[in-house]
């Protein structure tokens, strides 16, 4: 099992979510982060003075999947998150040792099993 952590632009998330859903990967979490990288921040002016914000808001996408699915997820993210401009973000893959589904208490890979039916669910 692997955990994929991606730092992406806000507007990239919705297309990614939809394709992952259609591929049968509905399970993921996002959170608001602020980051810097090549893209170094932004300077605004307010009442004549400057205000430099060295961090830019990004969405952090987290998704734990079975080893065999990692590439699919990564490719989907890369495909939709790229604008070619600095600030597109990064994707990282981390090892995961165990998973549990709270509702049932079951553990292991089946916790992550894709829901082929999921795609239909929201239509």
């Amino acid at each position: 099992m692997k955990k994929i952590e991606a730092y992406i632009r806000h507007e990239a998330f919705e297309p990614i979510r939809m394709e992952l859903l259609s591929l049968g990967f509905p399970s993921l979490s996002i959170s608001e982060v602020k980051g810097s990288g090549r893209q170094k921040g932004i300077t605004e002016r307010y009442r004549g003075a400057e205000l430099t914000n060295y961090l830019r808001p990004k969405v952090k996408l987290e998704c734990v999947v079975a080893d065999r699915d990692v590439q699919t997820i990564v490719d989907t993210i890369l495909k939709h998150a790229r604008t070619g401009a600095v600030g597109d973000g990064k994707v990282f893959v981390l090892p995961v040792e165990e998973s549990y589904r709270v509702r049932t208490g079951e553990s292991g890979e089946e916790v992550l099993q894709a829901h082929p039916d999921a795609a239909a669910a929201t239509t």
């Binding site: 632009r9 806000h10 507007e11 998330f13 919705e14 608001e32 090549r38 893209q39 170094k40 921040g41 932004i42 300077t43 605004e44 002016r45 430099t52 830019r56 808001p57 990004k58 969405v59 604008t83 070619g84 401009a85 600095v86 600030g87």
Partner: protein, 493 residues
Amino acid sequence: MRRSSTARALVLGLAVLLLLPTGAMADTFNAAGKGLPDSVGINSLWVIVAGCLVMFMQAGFAFLEIGFSRGKNAGTVVAKILTNFSIAAIMYWTVGFAFAFGGEAGHIIGSHGFLLRDFGDPQKAFPIMGLSDATVESKWFFQFVFCAVSLAIVWGTTLERIKFGVYVIYAVVFSALIYPIASGWVFGGGWLQSNLGMQDFAGSTAVHLIGATGALAALLLLGPRRGKYHPDGTARAIPGHNMPLFGLGVLILWLGWFGFNPGSTLGALDGRFTEVLIVTQLAASAGVLGAIATARLKTGQIDIGMAGNGAIGALVAITAPSGYVAPWAAVVIGFIAGVIVPLGVYAIDRKLDDPVGALTAHGLCGVWGTLSCGLFTLPSLARYNAVGDPGLFYSGSFGQLGVQALGVVTVFFFVFAASFATFWLIKKTYGMRVTADEEDAGLDISEHGMYGYPEQFIPIPELVGYGAAPHVATPAPAPAPAAPVSTTKEVTA
């Protein structure tokens, strides 16, 4: 089921409307017209202006409540205030005004003036207001906004857990019967005023205590908000979400009181309203200082909420005596009210969950203000208003104080009994409280289907726009030039 029952509740309000046209086709306007003496226009002008200031107090109450509520219950206050204000207008027009003012001196309940029609000579029809020649329409408006204020006070104790339909049902009963009858006794020329000589110039009892009494009845049947008390029964704070909006409410209420008390002269030509106004201002100021000092000594804090509650409490207290006392007395009355506020709130909070402190600010301070007439009423002003006797400090007699106390007790018991009965019936039939899940989620989403602050509770990235920038999607490595209007500069490595 919930749906249909709320709907039924609403129908009550609407039924009223459908009855109206019948036989009301005649031209109901007769008070006004060309060739009136100037005094009619001048006095009406002041009454209307004062009434507009009092009407704006609806916004004051709304924001006081919003500020003291959690964000998940902020939107419902808007729907509530609009609905209550509207129901009160319809009911007070159809029957309320007639019950309160349409009777002989000493009446128990008025008998004419329904729909503001067929009352003959307005000066005779509403004798207690005969002292002013302002048009009856201006007087109706002024008295109606008082009714709406009293109704708004009722809900302060019920925030964040009451079912919306309860507002609708009780509002009809309150503005048609409870308020008109009780307030009519006190300042509508009813028995307490005309027979006993109870002094309540602008309604410490007739408006504020009545509202606070309804609030108490509702609270006793409703119970505290989830999480307000620890299992061991000790109180836990549930902070309101927005002190600035609370402050807006307080300042609007303060402004509104310049209509509330001085407007109760129902006229401008004798200049009395200017004296009533400074008495009101001095009391409110002393109240703020009294509340801040008391809270500071008890908790070590300059409590923002108490500063505001102190102003309200003092304004409530000075409402009854504002037409009867001298400035120095106003300062004393207001300061004491200011001291009462934090002490009352701390004490009540231990057992009763009153999110905005309505029981203290409108209840305890309303009682104090009414009684204070028995202490401070000037001989000259008792004469001027031709109601009751001078206060203890001038007359040395406890007589007026006794009358004031009797009036307070009478009104409290009548309003409490009537309100408790009404709420009890509502509770048994329709229910008073939302479910625990709905309360946790908040009334905005559960009663109204949408949060008051959607971006905070259900932010949708592409709609909210965090992270988007005028030039975000620009493929250029140094996108700055893409944002010509804003001077946004992007720095890149």
